[in-house]
Amino acid sequence: MAKKFFMDPQRCIGCRACMAACQECDTHRGVSMIYIDTLDTEWSPQTSPTVCMHCVNPPCANVCPADAIKQDENGIVLQASVDRCIYCRNCLIACPFGVPKYQAKQALMIKCDQCYDRTSVGKKPWCATACPTKALDYGEYDEIIQQHPGSAVNQWQFGDQALETNVYVFAPKETRKFQVLQLFDYREQAGYAPNAGLAGGQQEIKGESDADVWAGWENRDWTGWSALQQEQEGK
């Protein structure tokens, strides 16, 4: 089985080492084709990577009037061919992940081809090599699945559009498919706190939600340690 690319957004620390590494790539030095988003600064330090998901049946290729976007034998969706691309930007509109970018200077769509130059000689893609937290990983499917307690998901539902991808995303154990639109209301989900993350994190203590902890934060007598000590000794 071919090696697979895995993402675990829960482990992403937003360091953008992947972006710096992508810029080191010999074929497009100085340009990153992986993106990191800060999801909601006010609520959480959570960040999340976006990279080409290499769809099994790629919408970008399907809508390309010039047939410029090809897949290789492992399902990797390649960047638009320089000769064929007519820079119509249909692919930008079609991709539900927002991956392809249009290069005005070069009049060409560019996107990640999973480091074809590196993977073809047995190396890992640059981003998955560099990622310091294993939020990005690349390797034998069975090996990586075995190490990770989560569920590797490659089924996506965007409204009416269903997609299967060659890139897997780790999610809590029961997850089989990402219902993308339903994930948008996380702020309303009960018990969401900055350190709860989007998938797991610590459990709230009953009667001690973060709102309770900070209630009356201005009035807390935190200089009263000596008083507390005296109280103790008085007993």
């Binding site: 482990r11 010999d26 200077k105 900055p194 902890v213």
Partner: protein, 749 residues
């Protein structure tokens, strides 16, 4: 007329600090590489392995992953672009001095002129004001060879006891705590033990941002079911996913550790056998922590008592565990005490010195470990020997070929040198590998102290905020331009290889020091031809000390992917895990230390009502002198900001992006506001990597731990309000962020 703008006067928008967005010489491809030089990242204590790509002309132009056991090819965003400082256009390429005194400009000069001047002035000042009137201030981001050399240079060539290093701002509390509890100062375990732990407790460590490559070890453990407890006032990226996060009020760490121990005693989650046979001092500690019930401590620490109990439950019942701490608990006036209070949790559990059972302090600087054990600390000689030990002095005197009686009188720690610099007791300083005009607390006092010096010499490879104040600036080398060793966070001695030569007239640091020693009349004691010769002398100097490097040769490091000290003989393979049999006290037993909570030096009051705490972001390294010049890092973290909770922002009438004025008893700071629920409402956070008017240390307090002399960077009191309109205009002009690189297509044109 345009006036000269200096880094120390303004912020990150200055032209002198314009970062580069592509490597000097442009982007080349791997095909241009004629060789890959295996080496390590110059930044944090992880010392990740990497390969530097070198072209036919000897220029380093890129990086390739290196499968080194510590990081297995992985790298953080600083590591990937570290090489971009090597040929950076802002490198200092010739010596400079102020020929006409303090008010004259820095002008290009020759090496001979600069070195002769320094040597002459050192001797004049010492003749008039005593040997210790000259201070040597060094650093731990250099190789161990250079760190060792600085200690010897100060004592043998200059003849001053005032030799100290910037680990005083970093590792000293941990070192003091370790020495008092274990009798030695080193992480007890190789990092591979973290992956085997069932419970991991991180106190005051934003591991994800400050030691990113520790994360795979944490995740490996957690994938097996290990529980992670993080103690931090902020929901850092490390705390965000933790099984338990204790969002503690700054400065109350010792009380929390005592409360956890209280619970361990209450439930008898103790290893009595270990406590009886391998430790001393348990009864006093047990009696002391009886006063620290979670209910009481919860009020002090500002966290629910139930979370303290949960922490004790996870920690107390684990079969294997790892406890790590960093600057959060150490950068306090009771930093050493905090360290000892947490070590008590390790000793009471008995989980140390076995596979999967351990303890470590997360070293901040690249060579924080190697740099702090071979004699550039004011009270220390090579091999973690104590300066006040007559036998140690005798041995080192023999290695150095001097008389024991010629050792200079002991000097001051760097933090204690500020007063003597202001009063004129210290009149000259040579500063290498440190940027006090960003890093020392109470910046106003530091600037007065440095400008009060008759002679201030800086060796650096960039014009740092501190170098701008110098009378003589000497261009030194970056890590890839010299060979040597460093000792990483685990105590693993690794090898830095030379990839290229310093640019222009810049020179390898140890050659500069040896040249200066020769001009001070001690050339015979500094007659080295390679870093390897310094290493061989260091090995002998460390022999018999606690940090015994004698058996560590360059060849052994290469063959074993690093060697853990102690390695006392040529046959020894080193010691990855400490304390398997005994601790480093004569009786072989570890020490419990009785710690009472004591408040920080400055607590919020009616006038300055909020806690102020400082720390790092992942994109910059320490004073930022290296990383604030690299485009991809500057884009991600262009300027400091003040992080505050929405409750506090609301109270102050501030919103995201507004400019706030922060005031402490030391000064004031204008910063854009970042509103986030990830911080306590009673506390604000500012990252400290910037200088000038953006220096977080304008506000911090010059209060030091009585044992370690570390400054209290993590706690002081501030007042906050919306900045006045005229200040906002000035501030916005100052923070013009460098023009970001043109559209991404540019490179393809």
């Amino acid at each position: 007329m345009a006036t000269e703008r200096k880094l120390t006067d303004i912020g990150s928008g200055d032209a002198a600090m314009q970062p580069i967005y592509s490597p000097a010489g442009g982007w080349s491809t791997t095909e241009d590489a004629v060789k890959l030089v295996p080496t390590h990242c110059p930044f944090c204590g992880m010392q990740c392995g990497m390969n530097l790509k070198v072209d036919g002309e000897g220029h380093v132009f890129g990086v390739e992953p290196r499968d080194f056991p510590v990081n297995k090819g992985r790298m953080c965003p600083k590591g990937v672009v570290a090489y971009q400082q090597i040929n950076h256009p802002q490198r200092l390429t010739y010596p400079m001095m102020r020929r006409g005194g303090k008010d004259s400009p820095l002008e290009r000069c020759t090496w001979d002129e600069a070195l002769d001047f320094i040597a002459r002035r050192f001797r004049e000042i010492q003749a008039q004001h005593g040997p210790n009137a000259v201070s040597i201030y060094s650093g731990s981001s250099m190789t161990t060879e250079k760190s060792y050399l600085m200690g010897k240079f100060a004592r043998v060539a200059v003849g001053t006891g005032n030799i100290d290093y910037n680990g005083r701002l970093c590792m000293v509390s941990a070192a003091a705590g370790n020495n008092k509890a274990f009798g030695v100062d080193r992480a007890a375990n190789p990092w591979s033990d973290i992956a085997l732990a069932d419970a991991i407790l991180l106190a005051g460590s934003n591991t994800a941002e400050c030691h990113p490559l520790t994360m795979p070890y944490l995740w490996e453990a957690r994938d097996r079911g290990a529980k992670l407890i993080v103690i931090d006032p902020r929901v850092t990226p490390s705390a965000r996913t933790a099984d338990l996060h204790l969002q503690i009020r700054p400065g109350t760490d010792a009380a929390l550790a005592n409360a956890i121990l209280y619970e361990m005693i209450r439930h008898d989650w103790l290893d009595h056998e270990f406590i009886n046979s391998r430790t001393v001092g348990w009864d006093e500690v047990a009696a002391t922590v009886a006063n620290y019930s979670p209910a009481k401590v919860a009020i002090l620490c500002g966290i629910p008592a139930a979370r303290i109990e949960q922490a004790a439950e996870i920690w107390g019942q684990a079969k294997t565990s790892f406890l790590g701490h960093a600057r959060g608990i150490e950068h306090q006036t009771h930093g050493s005490n905090n360290v000892m209070a947490y070590i008590n949790l390790v000793l009471a559990s008995g989980r140390i010195g076995r596979p999967g059972c351990g303890y470590g302090t997360l070293t901040g600087q690249g060579n924080g470990q190697g740099g702090r054990e071979h004699g550039q600390k004011v009270d220390q000689l090579p091999g973690q020997r104590k300066l006040d030990d007559p036998a140690a002095r005798q041995y080192i005197a023999e290695v150095w070929g001097i008389n024991e009686a010629d050792f200079p009188k002991p000097g001051y720690a760097i933090t204690d040198q500020i007063e003597p610099m202001l009063t004129g007791e210290i009149r000259a300083m040579l500063n290498i590998c440190s940027n006090p005009m960003v890093s020392l607390p109470d910046q106003d006092a530091i600037r007065r102290a440095l400008t009060n010096l008759e002679l201030y010499v800086v060796i650096d490879f960039f014009m740092s905020e501190s170098a701008e104040l110098a009378d003589v600036v000497l261009p030194g080398s970056v890590w890839a331009e010299d060979e040597g060793t460093t000792t990483n966070v685990e105590g693993r001695v690794i090898r830095i290889n030379k990839a290229t030569n310093p640019p222009g007239e810049a020179r390898v640091d140890w050659e500069i020091i040896c040249d200066l020693a020769a001009r001070l009349g001690k050339g015979d004691k500094f007659n080295y031809h390679s870093a390897g010769e310094i290493w061989d002398e260091l090995r002998v100097a460390s022999k018999g000390g606690k940090a015994d490097y004698y058996g560590i040769t360059y060849e052994k490091i290469d063959a074993q992917d690093g060697v853990f000290w102690p390695c006392p003989t040529m046959e020894s393979k080193g010691t990855p895990r400490l304390f398997e049999q005994r601790f480093y006290f004569p009786d072989g037993k570890a020490r419990f230390n009785t710690i009472e909570y004591q408040p920080p030096a400055e607590m919020p009051d009616a006038e300055y009502p909020f806690f102020y705490t400082t720390g790092r972001v992942i994109f910059h390294y320490l004073s930022g002198n290296q990383t604030r010049r690299i485009g991809s890092l500057v884009e991600n973290a262009p300027e400091p900001y003040v992080e505050m909770h929405p409750l506090l922002a609301q109270k102050l009438g501030l919103e995201r992006g507004d400019i706030a004025r922060l005031r402490s008893r030391r000064g004031e700071l204008y910063l854009p506001v970042k509103v986030t629920r990830s911080i306590r409402p009673d506390t604000v956070f500012v990252p400290y990597h910037w200088g000038g008017k953006q220096a977080a240390n304008i506000l911090t307090i010059r209060a030091y731990d009585p044992i370690s002399r570390i400054p209290e960077y993590k706690v002081c009191a501030v007042a906050i309000e919306r900045a006045p309109d005229d200040a906002i205009i000035t501030m916005n002009a100052m923070r013009e962020i460098p023009v970001a690189k043109a559209s991404p297509g540019e490179q393809f044109a």
